[in-house]
Symmetry: C3
């Protein structure tokens, strides 16, 4: 599965280096790890030393990076090296092994369930009553799809995922291995002697183009739905609690958590291990830095950080001041003493 | 599946509004989302604007909320709107799809295992040697129950849960999808050249009325048992390490973690993403606020917060002072200069 | 399954107490829980009261602990009570129930896959094309092993684990229930209208003697591999992102997370709920304390803590000073007033 450098240049719509038709590329690699059949990439001048030493057959280079005049490695100049690399990676991506279209003989599909054209239900999958899978949607082995749950077209659900009953999943949604969607939200009321369970009678609605990582949880709503907006991407081990509303185009990094009924606008970003409190709101384009905890509100486009989260600039100022706190105590004590001394010397 | 408003009033043991027998309710909804066949609820005067604008057929209202005198929406006055709503939700809860009583032909149940009356072992479940399931206990598809593990009556174990060997689960226990119970605790000893594994030969004991969320872990003990007390509720993605003892009626919110041998008393509450250090203790009714880390001890009924956790009031005081730290540095510098100047002007 | 105290002394290579041949030990227990057929252990003088009150048949005692002169409980004196206890625990460890060697009739093994001698593929496992399992490697029920993935000898993979295609797992590797290995890394590029997925075409390489807990995630690399070094031990609910390199002998405690392309050297330790930022590096033997977040670099052997992480001693100094911050503000205000007063009294 090699491609000529000329083909790659064409795929990126950039001029091909001299002799590119004769250069065969077998794959992508980091500058330091690339061999003579690899294409590599350079997006920042910090990595010029690695670029100068690379054995790569050719390198995708961000146009603004100043190359040494004597560069001999063939380069493909692009506006965005990351995006170009991502595009080329697609060319070299080995095919993901997938169950064949149709229903595996070891799967259990309820007679009332409906499957779109070329949908694939893998080994040991369970598909409940009245469930619907769109065209070309793929369930890898061991997936559970509950009664009345619908998946759109071109979805891919990886092994051992659980999607419980009455959930709605859009088109082109990817869910990675061992994730749980539609479990009961965490809701109880103390009834005087024990925690009475509040029934979670709602569901989950996942819109088009969403991707959810492994071992993540999206709980069903108390009533109504927990919503994951279009094109929102969720990493591994993320908690999305009941009645949360995530807008479109959000990014939730690993191990972040959004508590009950919180609302995130469009394009919100959560860093790793963030927490958003129940009923908190985050405006469009706002961002919560990694390891932070938001108690109430982030304004649109605002960057907040810390526990509890405050405007990021202010958090940085406090952080910068904190190391001086011990010396500050000493100074204040000294000032006290000096003032005392001065007073004494003046007989006051 | 509609119910008359009169029936609902009766279920709550409150007076029915006029004409309630003729009002049919199809379900519950938030004030802003409710339509003409929905029942909604109002628990706080903050939501009076939503109440005034709601299209709901009727609203459950917390008695203490001052309603406008011209309210036309039929209301059901209750002492605790949340609890009342939870009760009514039960009436409207769609049935959870469950495997039929008996053993699914695609399940594997060891001949020496015993099943109580009406127990249900779903598609592709595995039940090991000498395992016991109580009456009406349900295993959803893909559940693993190891040898010698016992589950009491009326348990419900959701898809793809793993409960390993020699564990004990009480009555009415719910475990949500993709959770792992009884995995080895994390224990090693450096033997001079590598980490020697400390065998984890204990087990897990889960008492009655416990509920555990999705993708959570309760590890088996080094020896003895890791214990989850009666009526304790555990959210998603929670870690309960080996030899932990959780008292009865605890609430552990999402992504919290309790390290080895820590002991939590009765009714302890952990906020989301909390950490409790190994061998730490928390007294009855104590509480660790979200995103906090407890190093040693929380006294009974004490609320602690921060990393490391300190009494919550003190943490709030420090938090309130922190934004003033940068200006404090400036002030101290200024004081210094002024004192210096004064001294100079006095010739000291 | 009892053992004589004499046998146990011999296994530890220490002198047997008088009459040890006639003392039968049935198992290990904590000092406070031990009965007359239990062996217990004492590693620290803090637990002398429990030792004095124990009913244990005998106790493994760390040599340096000063025992009361009238001790009657038979003791086994050792240099390292924890290590000795771990060794003895192995003697009493009940056997883990395992699928029998060979392929369970309910498993699906691709004809092109190869299995080493005495390898065991349990109920409902899936093993893909060209996958290889080493000798005596065990797949518990419901495990998924993707195409072209190889596992070495003597591995044990617990129920419902997913290991996706093209991954490499060494010898004697243990993976606990419900963990996901080889899922796509979290990588997108904004293409002007949506998050374009960056194909994750690399894989995961797990070296010999690694152990990974439950509900943890090790993502496949963008390209190249995500690497988990020899003898590294990973707890539950841990995130290891794409292109991370973990050195040998690392310990990652529960709910910690390592973001993309971070590099950890040999013997690095992460406390519970730690976060390591993408591209950060940690030198050999460095340590990140629990609940901390590392932004950039930890030097070899350095202990760092806090969010963001700083040298641990400095973090402790700041922590110690923080409670004085509110009073410091008061003091500075007072100094101001006093200085003002002094000036006034001097007519300055």
């Amino acid at each position: 599965m090699t491609r000529s450098l000329a083909d790659i240049a064409q795929a990126l719509n950039v001029p091909a280096p001299a002799g590119a038709a004769a250069v065969n590329i077998a794959g992508l690699a980091m500058l330091t790890e690339a061999g003579e059949t690899h294409l590599s990439f350079l997006g920042d001048k910090r990595y010029l030393p690695e670029f100068n030493a690379t054995r790569a057959a050719a390198v995708i280079v961000q146009r603004k990076v100043p190359l040494p005049p004597d560069t001999r490695t063939p380069v493909l100049l692009v506006d965005d090296a990351d995006l170009a690399t991502a595009r080329i990676a697609t060319l070299f991506a080995p095919p993901v092994p997938r169950p064949a279209p149709g229903v595996d003989p070891a799967a259990r599909v309820h007679p009332s369930a409906t499957l779109g054209e070329h949908a694939a239900v893998g080994f040991n999958c369970f598909v409940g009553a009245r469930a619907r899978l769109g065209a070309r949607t793929i369930l890898h082995p061991g997936v559970y799809v509950g009664d009345d749950t619908t998946l759109g077209d071109d979805c891919e659900i990886f092994p051992n995922v659980t999607i419980r009953e009455r959930c709605t999943v859009g088109h082109r949604v990817i869910v990675h291995a061992n994730t749980a969607i539609g479990s009961d939200g965490f809701g109880y009321r103390w009834d005087g002697s024990k925690h009475a369970k509040i029934p979670q009678i709602g569901a989950v609605a996942i819109e088009d183009d969403v991707e959810i990582g492994s071992c993540s949880c999206v709980d069903r709503a108390k009533f109504g739905v927990t919503r994951v907006g279009r094109d929102t991407k969720i990493d591994n081990l993320v908690q999305v609690a009941h009645n949360v509303v995530l807008g479109p185009h959000c990014l939730l990094a690993g191990q972040s958590g959004v508590a009950g009924s919180a609302k995130l606008g469009a394009g919100v970003m959560l860093g790793g291990q963030c927490a958003v409190r129940d009923h908190a709101t985050m405006g469009d384009g706002s961002m919560l830095a990694a390891c932070s905890g938001l108690l109430d509100t982030a304004e649109p486009k605002q960057i907040v950080s810390g526990i509890p989260a405050i405007p990021h600039r202010q958090a940085l100022r406090e952080q910068a001041a904190l190391p001086h706190l011990p010396e500050l105590r000493t100074e204040v004590r000294k000032l006290h003493a000096e003032l005392e001394e001065l007073r004494k010397s003046l007989g006051k």
